[in-house]
Symmetry: D2
Subunit: 290 residues, 4 copies
């Protein structure tokens, strides 16, 4: 048999009201069209009686042409089962923009992974409200754009940023310790496509200066949380969290030092899951398929 598609894979992320036989229906659809399933993970939320599934299959001998899969799936399954779904192809490399302020640890971590080929992604653009990290961007030969922001120019600067993101064909945005609150309107252009790292174990200590708050409260463990940005500050769906043990011996300064290691690891895990299309958002919570 001649491969009808390129040597890549397709990923289907779906959710719908739970109903008998739904896995059989989808796996039959793939099986009958010569799609070899590489990975399948499903989940049923018993409270909301909702079915979730991620299925990844080899396109080498898949009978349906790539540009018709979506249509066929809608006709045969999607409509009938009242399904929400998205279809992705692994040979399409997502383009990511990084927003930063003055702290470099997350940016360096992102760029070193990018450079080593750990991620299937393009990073053509770094945006910042300060110029401090321009030198880092140049070190890695990535375009750096400076958008100084104050309370007066914010709306117009965001409009200019949006235009630039469009020009650079950006698929998703990473706020790598970008110390600005992004407007609801800006967010609406990238729903579940802006990943933030917050330097606390959410929902504890949202907002500014969480390490100071953690110190004052005397917690014995601190954390970091990555989440998709939504209109409410630090309240979007959590993608990943990690923690580290601290003690009374830690000052705010050492909490910051220990916490920054968490921040970069947690942010990079969130980016990884996003790139691998392993995340589904439902009711402000994430399902992270493994």
């Amino acid at each position: 048999m001649t491969p009808s598609n390129s040597n890549s894979r397709a990923i289907l992320l779906m959710h719908c009201p739970d109903q008998k036989g739904i896995i059989a229906v989808v796996t039959n659809f793939l099986s009958e069209n010569n799609g070899n399933i590489i990975d399948l993970d499903e989940h049923v939320d018993p409270e909301y009686k909702t079915f979730f599934m991620r299925v990844e299959w080899d396109l080498s001998y898949f009978k349906i042409p790539v540009d018709q899969i979506n249509k066929k799936f809608r006709q045969l399954i999607g409509n009938q089962y009242k399904m929400n779904w998205s279809l992705h192809f692994t040979d399409k490399v997502p383009r990511m923009a990084v927003f930063v302020s003055k702290l470099s640890h997350c940016l360096y971590d992102i760029l070193s992974r990018y450079q080593s080929g750990e991620w299937k992604a393009e990073i053509p653009l770094i945006i910042s409200n300060h110029q401090v990290l321009e030198v880092v961007a140049h070190r890695f030969d990535i375009d750096f754009k400076h958008f100084p922001i104050d309370k007066n120019n914010k709306p117009e600067q965001e409009q200019r940023q949006l235009q630039m993101l469009k020009d650079y064909k950006i698929d998703f945005i990473v706020l790598a310790r970008y110390m600005q609150i992004v407007s609801t309107e800006f967010i609406s252009n990238y729903p579940n496509k802006i990943i933030n790292i917050h330097h606390s174990f959410l929902p504890a200590f949202p907002g500014a200066r969480p390490y100071h708050s953690a110190y004052a409260r005397g917690v014995k463990i601190i954390g970091a949380s990555s989440h998709y940005v939504t209109a409410e500050l630090d309240a979007g769906p959590i993608i990943e969290q990690e923690v580290v043990r601290v003690s009374h011996k830690d000052s705010v300064k050492t909490l910051v030092r220990k916490g920054q290691d968490l921040e970069k690891i947690v942010l990079s895990r969130a980016i990884w899951n996003h790139l691998e299309r392993k995340i589904l958002v439902f009711n402000n919570r994430t399902i992270i398929f493994e």
Copy 2:
């Protein structure tokens, strides 16, 4: 429709050579017979090209009578796909024997979970080579049998133990810090049905006195490991592990104190997974379905 089976669920654990369409085949079989899938988790080992799956379904309206499911499955699927499988029913409560020596922490933990109804299990029998913990057994109204073991009487004592396990209709055995090595012959009566807790982070420090070894080596983290018992000492398939941070300030005595908390938690998680039929053993490794 009248329910043809009791209000329980069936669990199928299976593995076979990986092949296209296998999930569709199994889910169709259940769907066509009115079996509503509660939970499905699958895994493919790319190295061994082997497919693993655990599927749990509601028997309420399942068309095939409980005592014929196994036969039907063999005829329709098992033989054709060269499958290894086991079938379990949630209304069959497993019977567990606990083997102990002198340390009480794991035994108390097991009995308190049993007593609180956390586990769907029966514990009719505690066996020991010492009499120290008889008082604990009596406190919980459980039969306690004393089998003193020395190097001369071991074979005959094990024979008597096996007979007693048979009399008590024991399904699986938990070695809760039972400080005796169990013979290969004894093990062969309960393959993948004897759960041991070893007080180290295996494969580091197998055998006797692992806390002393951990102290001497100066590790910064200690662990505990639960595994199925096989002929080779402390080398059986690992079910669960957990760790805790230690420091130079810890003596062997405090390592023991910290480690015992790990031991009871790790052992109880292994028992939970065993009871829930979430474990499949392949090539001396476990697949733990979630």
Copy 3:
């Protein structure tokens, strides 16, 4: 030389404004009186410029009689250095009362440690607003007192409890998932002597039903926190916290199951540190000496 004191040790917990030479002064005092230091741990809070120290020494050859140490220390050091301190002796075994409601996991864990001799403590009394766990108390031959509490009788029941605690010579109280809010007046009788376990990673999810809140927020890690009880609910100084990773697959029910393992471990570590006199409270934070 003849030992002038029993074969026990003394522990001094102290804090005072930080000042040059303070460690030398205290260690000289002990050294000159033939007190061999077993353990010394100090801490300086640079923000509050406050010095904290725990020192434990062997009394075998200590020249000052046990009943005069406090007075001598005040005269020679305490007054001059504006010190707050408390003096403890390891041969005085603390007496602990456990308050419970209906959940048994923490109680069993406490009693099994008590029974195995892990703790140097006496547990003569269990108090509950329900009768469910009376059977557990009887199993371990410990007095169980039932104080049903409703919104009308609370003040008088607390008065009766206080009298009973006095009769039993109770030194400190452990709230082992006691689902009642204790009044400010009650607390004032046992300042920094009531240890509570809260089933969340404080300050996230204080108050009722934290596992439900954790589920709704979609956190990826849950926790448990032990703290001294103060007038403000779940806001007292944190003694110990621990966490466990969860996922979207966890229901509230499995969060509860996983969380209960944390609760008992975290509570027991707090009790251990309290018994070992390793805790100093300052500004609603704890210093935990190692």
Copy 4:
């Protein structure tokens, strides 16, 4: 009073046979000479009856000139108490060389910390047996020297390396996934001054390909370990370890990906402790002062 020394601090690391009054002797010495103690941490190993201490003090008003402290300490205390000690000054910035092969993750992590000013260290030199990472060195403007090594030229190449380390005035060496075994003779030039990162939870899986071994053994947790290099492979004193949970779903490839995050964090924590003079080696174990 006029400060007799620069605005820096001194650190004394010491160990000796445990004896009564030793803390008082040292703290008196500092106190009498106007040295304000910033931090003191001590430890007694009860098995070896050995006393360990790290004390850090402000030199601003210290009466003894910096270049005479060592001599004075020897005369007054060191000799009499049979002490081993080392004296360090915080205004002396250590110089570090990094050895790498082809993997970049640890190197990038080190350089991003260096660049951000997280560490008080100089990194003038990167040495490698391959040229792959030369581009990274250039990006950060650091000298890169290529020493290709095969089984024939190893002794002479190591001699050349040693000469170069001398020329660059290197104080200590970090093997950041340098995939070569360093000779005993080379090590003898930098005793407890070569830090290695091993990609397993030692003592499990020493030597080559630990992720493959971890996969084959089916462990549920993997780790990374940093240690000082000694003659015996991967058996030197452990400085720091960290772990991450894995499952049957992880291939060797994903174990590598998860493990590399551990490696860089664990290595950087070890470097931090080394730079802060918080490590004392005794009997092939480390005491890490906090």
